[in-house]
């Protein structure tokens, strides 16, 4: 991206002033190297978002922003329903409520010694991953309704998990206002055998070692110590979310003219929040969030089973569960006034600061755990929310690294087998049903997540707490 077209507000904050159809400015959080590497499409997409009806304050791009669909991935925008604000299927994306959850294991790196292969095999055997994988669960009509209404809470009622998991999940594990009525038969059909599956692409389950602590006090609250072993799960709402996204994207794009919304890009498809279509999408999307929460909850249960087979008695307590593709109604302070607005986060993580009433008591003083996934073979990070982010980004931070290279380029450059051998030499065990999938997800095909996290920290979007290194990666 050409830096000349931006006004630098501080070290990591760059503004595109409102011009032309833009209703508000656009703000990009990045340093010079990240900006220089950022796609020009991010400029175009974030200014398009800034032109949508009812947008408030500014359209924000996180340090990991890259070319997305309508919204850039790493895009954050708030809309006021009182001012003709919109909800956008493109602003949430095809993988509704994709997110990360991290579990403590109570084990140390030394405990793993001699058991890595066994644990990798157990996890790979127990947690379905990859194209065409099906879960053991088959949902009938009533199960599906219960799941879409109840999210992780439903999963718990089915015996998947422990009661304390819920308070460490956003929305206490159950997104209110879900309306399964607007989840099509096709979306349900696509999901009925997919509960408790990881999916493919950049989704994974990873056993990680806490390699570095940046903030000892918060790390203590989060239960993180150097050499502790944690397990992170990255996945979303599977076929159900994809189908909801597909259907509403089309419906919204076709209905835009009727709502007199000029779409600079069909992918920005949106509808007024108070319109029938906007409300239908909101109901369906919230059901999609519940599907993702239930899915990660079931995978948590399977993970506990797999770990117990190798380490009987190990306790896997949840650190936290975050979603990074959502639209949520939240109360924020805007121009000194508390206001209820709809925040789209597309490839961005909610990052509530200390004192936020939505946080469980255990994290009320520290701020929310913000879980940033790396790519296979690279570090992941745990950050915590800040109060400053409320003003800077509607309490939002980055979500991951983003690709540096297309899948096609990656497969030309690497063979899956070689990638696995290289990682094995670094002590990282990979299990995947597809060698080509491994090549496409090669670590060097991704940007450096550390640079992204450093900028998020410097910009005050979230504070660095710990760095995690992969030990075992189950790749979808």
């Amino acid at each position: 991206m050409d830096i000349q077209q931006l006004i630098q507000r501080d070290e990591t904050c760059w503004e595109i002033p409102a011009k032309g159809p833009m209703r508000v400015p656009a703000i990009i959080y990045a340093d010079v190297p990240l900006l220089q590497a950022m796609d020009d499409k991010v400029y175009q997409q974030i200014t398009n978002v800034a032109a949508l009806p009812g947008i408030i304050q500014a359209a924000y791009a996180m340090p990991d922003a890259h070319w997305g669909y309508g919204f850039p991935i790493g895009g954050v925008a708030a809309f006021d329903p009182e001012e003709g604000g919109v909800i956008s299927a493109g602003g949430v994306g095809f993988d509704i409520s994709c997110g990360v959850r991290t579990l403590h294991t109570g084990l140390t790196f030394a405990d793993l010694h001699g058991h890595q292969q066994h644990l990798a095999d157990e996890l790979f055997r127990t947690v379905p991953a990859g194209v065409g994988s099906k879960g053991k669960l088959h949902l009938n009509h009533n199960d599906m309704l219960g799941m879409l209404h109840g999210g992780a809470k439903w999963a718990l009622d089915q015996g998947f998990g422990e009661i304390q998991d819920l308070e460490r999940t956003e929305e206490r594990g159950c997104m209110a206002g879900a309306d399964p009525h607007y989840v099509s038969t096709r979306a349900r059909e696509r999901q009925k055998d997919e509960m408790g599956t990881l999916g493919s692409g950049n989704h994974y389950l990873e056993v990680q070692r806490v390699a570095e602590i940046f903030d000892p006090a918060v790390a203590r609250t989060f239960g993180l110590k150097v050499d502790a072993i944690v397990i992170s799960i990255h996945c979303g709402s599977r076929g159900l979310g994809h189908q909801i996204g597909t259907e509403f994207l089309k419906d919204m794009a076709l209905a835009a003219a009727q709502y007199r919304i000029a779409l600079p890009d069909r992918e920005l498809a949106c509808a007024p929040l108070d319109s029938p279509l906007g409300k239908q999408y909101l109901g369906a999307m919230r059901a999609g969030i519940n599907c993702a929460l239930a899915n990660r909850q079931i995978i948590t249960h399977l993970t506990r089973q797999a770990v117990a087979a190798v380490f009987p008695g190990a306790r896997l307590d949840l650190l936290y569960d975050v979603s990074h593709n959502t639209c949520k109604l939240e109360r924020h302070t805007i121009a000194g006034r508390k206001q209820d607005v709809y925040i789209h986060r597309k490839g961005a993580t909610r990052a509530f600061g200390p004192g936020h009433p939505e946080l469980p008591l255990i994290y009320r003083d520290s701020g929310q755990p913000v879980l940033i996934g790396g790519s296979m073979g690279t570090s992941s990070y745990v950050l915590c929310g800040t109060q400053a982010a409320e003003q800077r980004s509607f309490s939002s931070a980055c979500h991951g690294a983003g690709r540096a290279m297309s899948r096609h380029q990656a497969t030309k450059q690497w063979q899956g087998r070689d990638v696995m051998t290289d990682l094995a030499a670094q002590g990282i065990i990979i299990r995947s049903p597809s060698l080509r999938g491994v090549a496409e997800e090669a670590p060097l095909a991704y940007k450096d997540v550390s640079a992204v996290v450093d900028v998020a920290h410097q910009a005050g979007l979230a504070k660095k707490v710990a760095r995690l290194e992969p030990v075992i990666c189950i790749k979808g």
């Binding site: 796609d39 499409k41 890259h66 070319w67 997305g68 669909y69 991935i73 994306g93 095809f94 993988d95 990859g130 194209v131 065409g132 994988s133 099906k134 096709r186 059909e189 696509r190 999916g199 493919s200 692409g201 076929g239 994809h242 189908q243 996204g245 597909t246 994207l249 089309k250 794009a253 076709l254 890009d265 069909r266 992918e267 983003g402 690709r403 297309s406 899948r407 096609h408 380029q409 049903p433 597809s434 060698l435 080509r436 999938g437 496409e440 979808g476």
Partner: protein, 139 residues
């Protein structure tokens, strides 16, 4: 000229493109390009037939619908497709997709496709008379 397919670059995802003398053949090739995102189409036997119908207000919408119909059929039937027969009459498409059940050992499927997008979506007849049909698929 012989129909063919190719992929084109996108940061996070992948572009599929079919080029052929007729619109219907360009749609068949675009669908083959989609299969190739997942696996090598030559590894997939054409032993099971699935019929597909859709309609849309213009050829670009029709391409997105066509690809999304295939994604849905693959997902709920656990199939991969290696051959397509498409006919297009005005705004209506009817097709038969031939394939076989996903075999993870044999097909080594790399990635699951979430949906067809409007990004880089183009369907038109080129100056040389060939039809081009393309879009990005989200994986």
């Amino acid at each position: 000229m012989t129909p063919y397919w190719e992929h084109f670059e996108h940061d996070a995802d992948i572009g599929i493109r079919g080029i052929a003398p007729t619109l219907a053949q360009a749609f068949e090739q675009a669908a083959l390009a989609m299969t190739a995102v997942i696996t090598d189409p030559d590894r997939v036997l054409a032993e099971t037939a699935v019929s597909i119908q859709c309609s849309a207000p213009d050829p670009e919408w029709l391409l997105v619908d066509w690809i999304n119909e295939l994604i849905y059929a693959m997902a709920v039937r656990s199939l991969l497709f290696s051959r397509y027969q498409v006919t297009i009459d005005q705004d209506r498409l009817s097709a038969v997709a031939f394939g076989e059940a996903v075999d993870r050992e044999k097909h080594q499927p790399a990635v699951e496709i979430k949906g067809a997008t409007f990004t880089e979506l183009h369907v038109y007849q080129r100056d040389d008379g060939m039809w081009l049909a393309q879009c990005i698929v989200d994986v």
